[in-house]
């Protein structure tokens, strides 16, 4: 075996250029496949995370009819004892009661269908923490004009401010990133921009008759903190629900789709508004993870706690079929791209194999003539091919690992039109990579299988090789 490895290794470097070209093709295949897949899965993770942890939860207790018919008639009685029991289940991190319904929101001449989400302000802090999503800074045209008139601001900074005009930010870092100021500009103007663009917002208190409005909806309705929105909808058992609600805060939801249509109020306010005293529509639960095993076990355990037989536990996948389908569709497109990449690379490897067999036919004939068994020769050639592949494969994995690591912690934040386009699709304009998981190893396994498939050709050729013909070649 040692002898075979030596021969295979030396054969590998007989044609250095060819080996490097082939190994490079494997390297790029692995690198691009891993990075591409990592970005894809990272984006899905982000989307799911945004949606789940800030809205639906990993699991939800609902009335069994609520998902198909999201009417308040399918709400259920809620008590604090159920809430406490949930925490006895392993993997439960947080939980929050919700009342979720629809209403028409109106302000001035603007009207829009919205989701009304009622929360327990304290419990929700530990669940989706809407307080952290309060808009801290708002770049308006009025602000830009004010800064322009002051004459203190350089034209280039005003131009950058114009590019983010209308945007709201719940963090300084995102505003800083979007503005893309130079070091000097940041030092000179950032503190003024932050001061001038500061938004006055507050989280809902308990009790509170006011509401928080999502940023894009607030822009559409042209409302700000202190303004009032009119909500009209249908309450419990067909009762009409209408009311005036002062706006306490504007929140920036990470999922652009939700950001377009969300109004948050407290549960007591919603119970009065919808006349659903003592009832909620869902109890959302966050878990330590969303692996199939954790979801299944947690769902089963929580189901056993439910005394109300009209309720059941749904997973985030049951609750978001559109998101799941969207991800599946996009994932299949990604897989098709990868398949094409693999296909091209396979023929690169196969080309090398063909050349090698043509060039070394005589040599193989000599080796068999002087007494080497064909199976040993095949073993040497397969070893040679595997070594060639492994060089590219390991290099590809090693090169992609720091890349994945870096962009996992420092995701690409998409700016400009591309970012807007993604948000219009309802996706977060952030591209993180996914943490190392099966996808990382599977790309390597697939490429390795490709190499093994390519070795079938020399194996077959050697099996059929006739010494006399090989010696004449």
């Amino acid at each position: 075996m040692k002898e075979d490895l030596k021969i295979a290794w030396r054969n590998l470097w007989r044609s250095k250029r060819r080996t490097l070209i082939t190994s490079s093709s494997v390297f790029f295949a692995v690198f691009f496949a891993v990075v591409m897949r990592s970005y894809q899965l990272g984006s899905y993770d982000r989307m799911i995370q945004n949606f789940i942890e800030s809205y639906s939860g990993y699991l939800q207790i609902q009335h069994k009819e609520f998902q198909d018919n999201p009417s308040l008639d399918y709400s259920f009685d809620y008590s604090d004892s159920l809430f406490e029991k949930i925490f006895s289940v392993k993997n439960v991190v947080s939980a929050a009661p919700h009342i979720e319904s629809f209403a028409l929101a109106s302000s001035g001449n603007q009207t829009k269908g919205v989701i009304v989400l009622a929360v327990d302000t304290e419990k929700e802090k530990k669940f989706s923490n809407p307080e952290s999503k309060l808009v801290k800074y708002k770049i308006t045209q009025r602000l830009i004009n004010k800064l322009k008139i002051s004459g203190q601001f350089h034209e280039s900074v005003l131009k950058k401010l114009n590019q983010v005009s209308g945007n709201s930010y719940s963090s300084t870092s995102r505003l800083d990133l979007d503005l893309d100021l130079s070091e000097d500009e940041r030092n000179s103007y950032m503190s003024v921009i932050l001061e001038e663009s500061k938004a006055t917002n507050r989280y809902l208190s308990n009790p509170d008759s006011g509401v928080m409005v999502s940023d894009k909806l607030a822009t559409y309705l042209k409302v700000n903190v202190g303004d009032t929105v009119i909500l009209m909808g249908q309450g419990y058992h067909g009762a009409s629900a209408a009311g005036l609600f002062p706006v306490r805060g504007i929140i920036k939801m990470p999922s652009p789709d939700i950001d377009n249509k969300l109004i948050i109020m407290t549960i007591p306010t919603a119970q009065r508004f919808f006349q659903t005293e003592g009832k909620i529509t869902s109890l959302a639960i966050n878990l330590t993870g969303r692996s199939a095993g954790v979801l299944k076990r947690s769902r089963e355990n929580i189901s056993q706690l439910l005394s109300d037989k009209s309720t059941l536990v749904k997973t985030w996948e049951d609750l978001n079929p559109v998101l799941v389908q969207q991800i599946q569709g996009d994932s299949q497109t990604g897989m098709a791209t990868l398949a094409m990449l693999y296909f091209i690379i396979f023929f690169g490897i196969f080309g090398t194999v063909l050349m090698m067999m043509a060039e070394r036919k005589r040599e193989f004939g000599v080796m068999i003539s002087i007494g080497m068994q064909k199976k040993r020769l095949k073993r040497i050639i397969v070893t040679e091919m595997i070594m060639m592949g492994l060089i590219g494969l390991i290099a590809g994995l090693l090169a992609s690992a720091p890349f994945i690591l870096y962009f996992y912690y420092n995701p690409i934040l998409l700016r400009g039109e591309l970012g807007k386009m993604m948000e219009d699709y309802g996706w977060d304009a952030v591209m993180p990579t996914a943490w190392f998981g099966p996808y990382f190893y599977w790309q390597a396994v697939i490429v390795f299988i490709m190499i093994l498939v390519a070795t079938l050709y020399p194996i077959r050729k050697i099996s059929k090789l006739k010494e006399i013909e090989a010696l004449r070649s």
Binding site: E3, R14, E363, V366, M367, I370, G371, M372, K374
Partner: protein, 228 residues
């Protein structure tokens, strides 16, 4: 003692549906330690006969018995093992393994026979010394001249202590000085190792040194002269 026994061997090739008789009813036998040259014009069947004796090709008719074994009774893998243990090959184009050094090329055959490392080293040194290349034992074929490569090929052919060595035009690609050196070495090894050498050749120097000269024409043996 008889090493090779060839009985009424025919080899017919079908080339574009025309049957070509490359070897036509050859009956020969070779004894231990013979130094034989097979001569004849191009196309007379020299190389085909050597290939048949070496088990690289199978006769259309007749049988070839080597050390009591009829080659046609062996399975392909059995035939490869048989060649490994009984036959040494020297090719016109040297055909050394390019990625192995001279020493490793010689040891390669012995490693296929599963000799111990120590025995391999002893034997390869002995043979490389015999062919005058001990000081070049760590050179790869690419760093050796044609004559030197052919000498390594001879050492490789003898490494497994075969019953006989088949050499197909071994001097064809060599200059006269290298050819003379090679022939001297082979004759010395023929005496020393008591191994039969069978050459196919056009080279008059080989013919001159041979103890027996077999002439082929149109696949038939036309003369078989044994010299004293």
């Amino acid at each position: 003692m008889k090493v090779i026994d060839i009985k009424e061997v025919h080899k017919v090739y079908d080339e574009e549906e025309i049957a070509v008789k490359a070897v036509d009813g050859v009956t020969l036998s070779f004894d231990e330690a013979e130094f034989v040259a097979i001569v004849g014009p191009s196309g007379s069947g020299k190389t085909t006969l050597l290939n048949l004796i070496g088990g690289l090709d199978m006769p259309t008719e007749g049988e070839i018995v080597i050390a009591g074994t009829n080659l046609s009774t062996l399975k392909p893998s059995g035939l490869i093992d048989f060649r490994l243990n009984n036959i040494g090959f020297v090719f016109q184009a040297y055909n050394l393994v390019p990625v192995l050094t001279a020493k490793e090329n010689v040891e390669f055959i012995m490693s296929l026979q599963k000799w111990s490392k120590h025995d391999r080293e002893l034997r390869s040194d002995e043979l490389l010394k015999a062919v005058g290349l001990l000081e070049r034992k760590n050179s790869r074929p690419g760093k050796l001249s044609g004559g030197q490569q052919q000498r390594v090929a001879v050492a490789r052919a003898l490494a497994s202590r075969p019953k006989f060595v088949l050499a197909d035009e071994p001097t064809a690609n060599l200059d006269s000085k290298s050819a003379a050196t090679l022939l001297e070495i082979m004759e010395k090894l023929n005496h020393g190792e008591k191994i039969t050498f069978i050459f196919s050749t056009h080279d008059p120097r080989v013919v001159k040194m041979a103890h027996r000269v077999i002439t082929l024409e149109d696949g038939k043996v036309v003369s078989d002269d044994v010299r004293e």
